[in-house]
Amino acid sequence: MGEEDYYLELCERPVQFEKANPVNCVFFDEANKQVFAVRSGGATGVVVKGPDDRNPISFRMDDKGEVKCIKFSLENKILAVQRTSKTVDFCNFIPDNSQLEYTQECKTKNANILGFCWTSSTEIVFITDQGIEFYQVLPEKRSLKLLKSHNLNVNWYMYCPESAVILLSTTVLENVLQPFHFRAGTMSKLPKFEIELPAAPKSTKPSLSERDIAMATMFKRFSCLSLPSSWDYRYGQLYVLFLRHHSRTSNSTGAEVVLYHLPREGACKKMHILKLNRTGKFALNVVDNLVVVHHQDTETSVIFDIKLRGEFDGSVTFHHPVLPARSIQPYQIPITGPAAVTSQSPVPCKLYSSSWIVFQPDIIISASQGYLWNLQVKLEPIVNLLPDKGRLMDFLLQRKECKMVILSVCSQMLSESDRASLPVIATVFDKLNHEYKKYLDAEQSYAMAVEAGQSRSSPLLKRPVRTQAVLDQSDVYTHVLSAFVEKKEMPHKFVIAVLMEYIRSLNQFQIAVQHYLHELVIKTLVQHNLFYMLHQFLQYHVLSDSKPLACLLLSLESFYPPAHQLSLDMLKRLSTANDEIVEVLLSKHQVLAALRFIRGIGGHDNISARKFLDAAKQTEDNMLFYTIFRFFEQRNQRLRGSPNFTPGEHCEEHVAFFKQIFGDQALMRPTTF
C-alpha cells in the first residue's frame, strides 16, 4: 500500500501530555477539548493542554480526595472538580476574584452526581441518576444559583458542546433518550425518542450501551437564507449516531451505524443507515462532515458521506462506504528531548490500539502514550480512489479544504494522459457552477437585504461565507483553463469543446461569463485559423458583447476581414461605444458614414469639425471634402448664426484648402434677414 493510498491521518502535531499512571490521572473535557493531567489529586500539579493553546495552564490544588471529573468553564474562567458523588467544587480563575474553593451539593435528595457539563462560562449542568440540575455560577459571591431542574431516572448521559445538547439515557433498556438544549440561561426539553435495539438472544438482557452512541453536528450552513430560530442555522445539524451491532443469530450482513437527526423543533427522525458489512469492535469519529468508522479487528477505517446519493427506501437512506477500507496512515511518534538524541529513528506508533479512546468529533486519545490527536482526512489520495468523477466532485465540494484538490482534479481530467470524456467534464463543470451559483445568489440576496435596510432589524443577517467549494471563473481560468489551452499537444477540437462546455455550464446557471474566458476562446480559434467558427459563435452571441472584445475583433481584421463588421455590430449593440464607432469609420475613411451615424444618434452638434475635415481631406476626394465642409458651415450657421468657423475649432487650414480648391465664392454666405 503506497503512501498515496491512505486517506486518513493523525495530525502532525498532537497534544502531548503525561501518560496516565497510578499517580497521574488524565481527564478529557469535550467542551474545551482540553486534557487534564492531575498528579496526586492535584497536590503536585495539574497541567491543562488544549489543541489550540500551545501554552499549557498549570496550577496546584489541595488533594481533597480522588478527582472524578475536572473541567474548565468556557474561556477557562471557572474550574469545576467533582470529588464525591454528591458535590462539585469550584475555583475561580478570573483575575480579582477570590480563588478560594466553594462547593455545591446536588439538590435532589439521595441522588448521585454522574457528572457535569459547562454550557457557558458561568452556567453548569449537574447530571444525577435522578435528573438534571441547571445552575448559574456567581463567581464573585462564590455561590451557585439553581436555574432549573428536571427529575427523571438517568442511566448515563452524553453532551454535545457544539449544539449544547445533553442526551440522557432513561428506562430499563436504557434506549429511550431524552435530549435537553441549553442556551443563555434557559433549559428546554426536547421530544424524547427511542433507539430500536437489535434482537438479542432471550438469555441476555438487551440494553443500549453508552459506548454505542455518539453525537455530532454536521454541515454548518453559511447561507443567510435559513430561519434564524433554528440551531441548524448556526451550529449545523445535530445527529445522534447509534452503532448497531447485529447479534450473531440474525442473518444480517454486519453492523451498521444509524443516524438520527435531532432537529431544534419537532421529533427526532431516523434518517440514514451506514452499512459497515463487518462485525467486531468499532469506534466513530466525525471529521469534515464525514462519519469515520474505525474497525479494530482489521485495523482499518471507512468513511461515509451522507450528502452523497444513497439508496432511499422511502424513510431512510442507506449508504455504503465512499471508499474501500484503509488503515490510518502509519504514524511515527515524534522524538522529543535533547537534540543529541534526535539521530534516533522515530518510533512507529501502534495504530488502532486497545488503549485508544475516541471522542467526538475528531479526537483520538492514547492515554497510555500521552497523545491527543485530531483525525484528518487527506483529499489527494481520494482523487485516485474514486474513479467516478461526478461522485468525486460531490464528495470534494462538501469538504473544507477542497479548493486546490478540485482544481487539480479539473487539470487532471483535461490532461492528455487522464483525459475525461466531454460528458464527464460537463458534469464536473456543472457541479462546480451549481455551488458557485448558490453562493452568488446568497451574496445577491444579502446585498438586497442590506439595501432594503433589513440588517438593523435582523441581527442574524450575515454576509454569506465563501467556502472553498466556491470556485469562480477566475479560479478555473487561472488554475485550469489558461494552462490547458497552452498545451501544444492537445487537439484544438478538444480545447474548444472544453471551453464551450464551461461557457455552456455558466450560462446554464445564469452566471455572467467573464470576458477573459471569451478571449481565451477567440485566442484558441484564431491560433488555428478557425475564423468561420468564431464568426458563428459571435453570430449567436455566445461570446458576450464588450468593448475589449470589440477591440480584439478590430485587431483581427487583417487576418479575417469580416471581423470588422462583427466589431462594429458589437459596438452598436453596446450602445455606449458611439465614439468608438465614429473612430472606426473615420479610420476606414468612411467619413460620410461616420457623419450620418453621429447625426442619426443626434450627436452631430458636439463633434469636432476638424477631425472630420481632416479625415475628408485624407481621402483626396474633393467632392467628399466639399460635402463635409458644407455640413459644418451649415452647422455653424444653425448654432451660431454664421457659417464661419471659430478660431477654437482650428479649421483655418481647411478653410484655406476649401478656398484653394473651390474658390472664395464657394464659401457659404451668412444668411441675414
Binding site: 469543446a497 464551450m500 455552456r504 446554464q508 469580416p562 470588422h564 463588421q565
Partner: protein, 472 residues
C-alpha cells in the same frame, strides 16, 4: 431539341403578355488545350448537352465561344466576356479552373424594351458558377480527375454528374437569391445554441472518426464545422435536393417513431437520410455520398452522413479512407438518435417561446430580402418557398426584376448607398447597402411619398436589424 425550337420560334409577340420560362438550350464544358490543332477540335469537348447535337455543330459552338473569349480578352485580359446576348439566345461563360470552360446557353427573347435585363445575366452567371461548385462538391476538381484517370475519367464523371444535374436546373425559377447563394440561419437563443454545441462536440468525441459536423433545423443552418464556401454549396444541396426528397415519406408517416423491432434501443425519431435505410437488414448497404472540401489547400475527401430526427438534421463528415460499417451506423443511430430527438424538441420548444415573446404576428406592410456577404446570411420574406423547381414569391416578377437592377447597381460601386424606386401600383422598392450588407424592401402604401417611405424603412431597420450596425 424541342426547347431549342420553341426558343427560336417564339418571340414576345407570339405570347403577348405571357412570358415563356427560359429554357436551357445547351451546356458544355471544354478545354482548348486538348485539341489545339485542326482536326482535333472534338478532343476539346469534355461534355456536351444535349448530346444528340451533331458533332460539327458542337465543334462550331465550342469554337465560337473560344473565339469570343479570346477576342474579348484583348480588351480586358483579366476579365474576359462573361455573357453574350444574341437575338436568339444568351450564353454565359465561366472558367472555374484554368483552361476549363463551362458554357451555358438559354433561349433569349429579343428585348424590345430599352431596359437591359441585367438581373438575369447575373442570375444565370451565378447558376453557372453553382453548377461547377456542385460538381466539385461531389467529384472534386477537374484537375484531380485528370490526375486520377486522365480525360477519360473526367469525361465519365462529367457525364455522370451533369446528365442528372442539368435536369434539375430550372432556370425559370432562378432569381436574386441565386445570386446571393446565401444561407438561412435558424434564429436561436444562446442557451439552446450552446446545448447544440455541446451535443456536436460530444458526438464528435464518441464517434471519433467524425471530422466535421453541420447542424440544421427546419432547413436552416445552425452550425457548420466546414468552411464557409464548402458549407454554402453543401447547404444548397441539402436544402434544394436532399431534404425535399425526404419530405414525402415524412408526410406519409412512413417513419413511425415506435421502432419496437429494434431491441435495446431507446425510442427515438432518428433516421439516416444518406446511407442505410433499414438498420435491421443485415445486408443494408452503408454507402454514403462522397464530398470534396477544402479543394484549394488540403483537398479532403469525405463521406457525407446525414441523419435526421424530427426537424433537426446533422451532417457528419468522415474521412473517405474510413469505411463506415453497418455496426458503426447502428452505433451512431443508438447514440445520436435519442439525444438528437430530445434536442430537436428542445429547439422546437425554445423557438415557440421566442416566437411568442417577439409579440403579435401581424402581417407587416412590407416584404424584404436581406443578405450579408460576410457570413452569407440570407433572409427573405418575399419567398414563400424556394426549391429548384419552384420559386414561390409573393410579389410580382416585375418587382423582382427591380430588385435585380438595384443589386446590379450595388455591385458596380464599393460605397454604401441607398436606392429608392417608385414602381407601379403604389409599390415602392428600397435598396440599401451598408458595409457588405444588402437590404431590399418592397412597400405597398397608398399615396406614400418619398419621405414617408424613408421613414418606414428606418422603422423596419430599427425593429428587424437593431442589433447590427446598419447605417440609415
Amino acid at each position: 431539341m424541342a426547347a431549342a425550337a420553341a426558343g427560336a420560334g417564339s418571340g414576345p409577340w407570339a405570347a403577348q403578355e405571357k412570358q415563356f420560362p427560359p429554357a436551357l438550350l445547351s451546356f458544355f464544358i471544354y478545354n482548348p488545350r486538348f485539341g489545339p490543332r485542326e482536326g482535333q477540335e472534338e478532343n476539346k469537348i469534355l461534355f456536351y448537352h444535349p448530346n444528340e447535337v451533331e458533332k460539327n455543330e458542337k465543334i462550331r459552338n465550342v469554337g465560337l465561344c473560344e473565339a469570343i473569349v479570346q477576342f474579348t480578352r484583348t480588351f480586358s485580359p483579366s476579365k474576359p466576356a462573361k455573357s453574350l446576348h444574341t437575338q436568339k439566345n444568351r450564353q454565359f461563360f465561366n472558367e472555374p479552373e484554368e483552361n476549363f470552360w463551362m458554357v451555358m446557353s438559354k433561349d433569349g427573347k429579343p428585348v424590345i424594351e430599352y431596359q437591359e435585363e441585367e438581373l438575369l445575366d447575373k442570375v444565370y452567371s451565378s447558376v453557372l458558377r453553382q453548377c461547377y461548385s456542385m460538381y466539385k462538391l461531389f467529384n472534386g476538381t477537374f484537375l484531380k480527375a485528370m490526375e486520377d484517370g486522365g480525360v477519360k475519367l473526367l469525361k465519365e464523371r462529367l457525364e455522370k454528374f451533369f446528365h442528372r444535374y442539368l435536369q434539375t436546373l430550372h432556370l425559370q425559377s432562378c432569381d436574386l437569391l441565386d445570386i446571393f447563394g446565401g444561407i438561412s440561419f435558424f434564429p436561436l437563443d444562446k442557451m439552446t445554441y450552446l446545448k447544440i454545441q455541446s451535443f456536436i462536440n460530444r458526438m464528435e468525441e464518441s464517434l471519433n472518426i467524425v471530422k466535421y459536423t453541420a447542424f440544421l433545423y427546419n432547413d436552416q443552418l445552425i452550425w457548420s464545422g466546414l468552411e464557409q464556401d464548402d458549407m454554402r454549396i453543401l447547404y444548397k444541396y441539402l436544402t434544394t435536393s436532399l431534404f425535399p426528397r425526404h419530405i414525402e415519406p415524412e408526410l406519409a408517416g412512413r417513419d413511425s417513431p415506435i421502432r419496437a423491432e429494434m431491441p435495446g434501443n431507446l425510442q427515438h425519431y432518428g433516421r439516416f437520410l444518406t446511407g442505410p435505410l433499414n438498420l435491421n437488414d443485415p445486408d443494408a448497404k452503408c454507402r454514403f455520398p462522397k464530398i470534396f472540401v477544402n479543394t484549394d489547400d488540403t483537398y479532403e475527401e469525405l463521406h457525407l452522413i446525414v441523419y435526421k430526427a424530427m426537424s433537426a438534421a446533422v451532417c457528419f463528415m468522415i474521412d473517405a479512407s474510413v469505411h463506415p460499417t453497418l455496426d458503426f451506423c447502428r452505433r451512431l443511430d443508438s447514440i445520436v438518435g435519442p439525444q438528437l430527438t430530445v434536442l430537436a424538441s428542445d429547439i422546437c420548444e425554445q423557438f415557440n417561446i421566442n416566437k411568442r415573446m417577439s409579440g403579435s404576428e401581424k402581417e407587416p406592410q412590407f416584404k424584404f430580402i436581406y443578405f450579408n456577404h460576410m457570413n452569407l446570411a440570407e433572409k427573405s420574406t418575399v419567398h414563400m418557398r424556394k426549391t429548384p423547381s419552384v420559386s414561390l414569391t409573393s410579389v410580382h416578377p416585375d418587382l423582382m426584376k427591380i430588385l435585380g437592377d438595384i443589386n446590379s447597381d450595388f455591385t458596380r460601386v464599393d460605397e454604401d448607398e441607398e436606392i429608392i424606386v417608385k414602381a407601379m401600383s403604389d409599390y415602392w422598392v428600397v435598396g440599401k447597402k451598408s458595409d457588405r450588407r444588402e437590404l431590399y424592401v418592397i412597400l405597398n402604401q397608398k399615396n406614400a411619398n418619398l419621405i414617408e417611405v424613408n421613414e418606414e424603412v428606418k422603422k423596419l431597420c430599427a425593429t428587424q436589424f437593431n442589433n447590427i450596425f446598419f447605417l440609415d
